[in-house]
Symmetry: C2
Subunit: 350 residues, 2 copies
């Protein structure tokens, strides 16, 4: 019997985070008797008078949303990070009790005034406006003295803790570099210092040559299931040019980014013919005033669904306590995403 | 305005993992409009003929469970790790494509033949038998040549991906040291080499002195919400003596462990008067043949509930992409757990 990655349990290494994932390809076959998610595919109105993100509506704090026509951003009414925090620090008991104050702010980014849409149902031009707003926010927030990191992200679907189906994302900007980007920075820096190229340029060059994990590609961007993916249908969208931050993208590249984001999410929706839930976000250079040539920006998608529209992967017990674990290989997942049509299942029916 | 940890956003440091958690105490006040979990509190029979864990029943692979009277363990019929894996390795593309075969095995541990019980509803003597089985499994599995790590854990509740309410846990034993214990080993080793004491003995000594995060204590064990807790009601049960592994516990300490496990989970159930879901597991020395005096064993509990029996904390978007984040402080959570009765809400009603 010879070892092969499609059939035998193995571990794969993530050079961006310096962590391993346990892969158990044979396990996809086990029967599922556990919790199933409910799918709410109710048809939503274009404007919902009770939605706090729709244009013209009044939010919980009394503020009225403008009659916006494409995108709109505002400061989160229940922000996890606050600007007005006194400085404080603790380092007690031989370094076992360490804490420090943290300043920051949280914004909500409405992708469209249309309450009934999602990214894969929007036109590329509309998504391009989202990319432009991200660029503007990254610039403005990052320009603030005390903001060293800007995390752009989107929670899609109630299974991902999203409490409002209106198409929107969030930005949390803060003093410290959070854990995940800090790890990626460290490993990209070591690679760049050693090789003089970004880790991700060398990586995607090989992925594009091999094609097995590529799910979508246009002139300037490639979408792949990373070799070290953790979530069943995890992907990342990477610019082909080594670009450290969204503000370094050319106009043409921004269009290509919008196209890749749309195309990938259409394919996602088509897998189970359901609005595919995920958390997604952009990892890029911090706004700490340094140059960061080692950083190669990329957008990560972490979707929880595993077997069907209602059965997700539970990252529990072993995964929480010991090690990330997946039940299908990155190659199987990539083939499944790649084969999906670029026509959204809903529009195809019409 | 002076900084204080009860009101202002801050970060806390976890010396066991060398990671930070973002704490946003003020955020507990935001309204919740998102997904709610369903609670199934149906009364279960003592024996369920369709349950594959009940005594005397036939499992999916045709094997028949014995008429066990206390605990029972068997190899998982759909194991993520397999014993019979050919050896293989890959290290391609300048270290960007690394993988290796992984051998191991997965066991299921039935805590009791009673289908209708959970740990907090069992007697201490019954739980002590679970501790004994864990000890036996750790010894036997760890004695195998190729097994360097034994992860004992429990997923409780369907929200934690548990597909069968019959009281049970799992053990995944394998060749490699998984990520989480590897991190803890590294940091405990550095601390031990520097100070000559285990990190956790020094830590719990201070916690016991301060009492603010202690939720339960008996002669040999203490249960605390760690200063750096991530999950809303996260706790850990720690032996007061610096013990590296479950096999080093004395008979008396094993009784005290069973008592702490029972007492903590009774308090958990009493918080929202619901069977409190969690993933729990024991972190202890690997079975790699080394002595590991730096390891101080402990059992971690990661419960997802936040505000009520139906509203959990979603570790999504920001948390997945950037940094672990919590909405109430460890001290508030600890006070809430501590004040709960040691009489289970169900038995109190009778
Ligand atoms: O108990 P099961 O069905 O083996 O599976 C459950 O626990 C495992 C170990 O934590 C996870 O990998 C699965 O995602 C979860 O559904
Ligand atoms: O969108 P909301 O309501 O702010 O909140 C959601 O996203 C946040 C950022 O990922 C998480 O901290 C919350 O747990 C989740 O419910």
């Amino acid at each position: 019997m010879e070892f092969n990655f499609e059939d035998h349990p193995h571990r794969r290494y993530n050079p961006l985070t310096n962590e391993w994932v346990q892969v158990s390809p044979h396990r996809a076959k086990r029967p599922w008797q556990g919790q199933v998610e409910k799918i709410e595919e109710e048809k939503r109105p274009e404007h919902d008078p009770s939605c706090y993100l729709c244009a013209g509506n009044t939010r919980i704090n009394g503020e009225v949303n403008p009659q916006y026509t494409d995108t709109y951003s505002f400061q989160n009414d229940f922000a996890a990070l606050l600007e007005d925090v006194p400085t404080g620090e603790m380092n007690d008991g031989n370094g076992l009790f360490r804490a420090k104050s943290e300043r920051g702010l949280c914004k909500v980014i409405c992708f469209s005034p249309r309450h009934d849409l999602t990214i894969p149902e929007m036109e590329t031009e509309g998504i391009r406006k989202v990319v432009d707003l991200w660029t503007k926010e990254y610039t403005e927030l990052g320009a603030r003295d005390y903001i060293n990191h800007v995390q752009i992200f989107e929670n899609k679907g109630s299974v991902m803790g999203c409490s409002n189906p209106h198409p929107h994302g969030q930005i949390w900007a803060q003093e410290s570099i959070p854990q995940e980007p800090a790890k990626k920075q460290e490993n990209q820096k070591a690679y760049y210092d050693k090789n003089g190229t970004t880790l991700l340029s060398d990586y995607i060059a090989q992925e594009i040559k091999q094609q097995t994990r590529v799910v979508y590609e246009n002139e300037h961007f490639v979408a792949i299931v990373p070799f070290w993916a953790v979530w069943p249908f995890e992907t990342m969208i990477v610019p082909k040019r080594a670009v450290s931050r969204i503000t370094d993208l050319t106009e043409e590249e921004k269009d290509a980014f919008a196209d890749a984001y749309r195309s990938l999410t259409i394919k996602y929706d088509n897998i189970f013919e359901v609005s595919f839930p995920y958390s997604a976000g952009i990892h890029q250079a911090p706004t700490d005033g340094e140059d960061h040539p080692e950083w190669h920006m990329h957008m990560c998608f972490y979707p929880p669904l595993l077997r069907s529209a209602t059965v997700k992967k539970f990252m529990v017990g072993y995964e929480m306590l010991a090690n990330a674990q997946r039940d299908i290989t990155a190659e199987t997942a990539a083939a499944r995403i790649r084969e999906q049509s670029l026509v959204h299942y809903k529009s195809a029916v019409l």
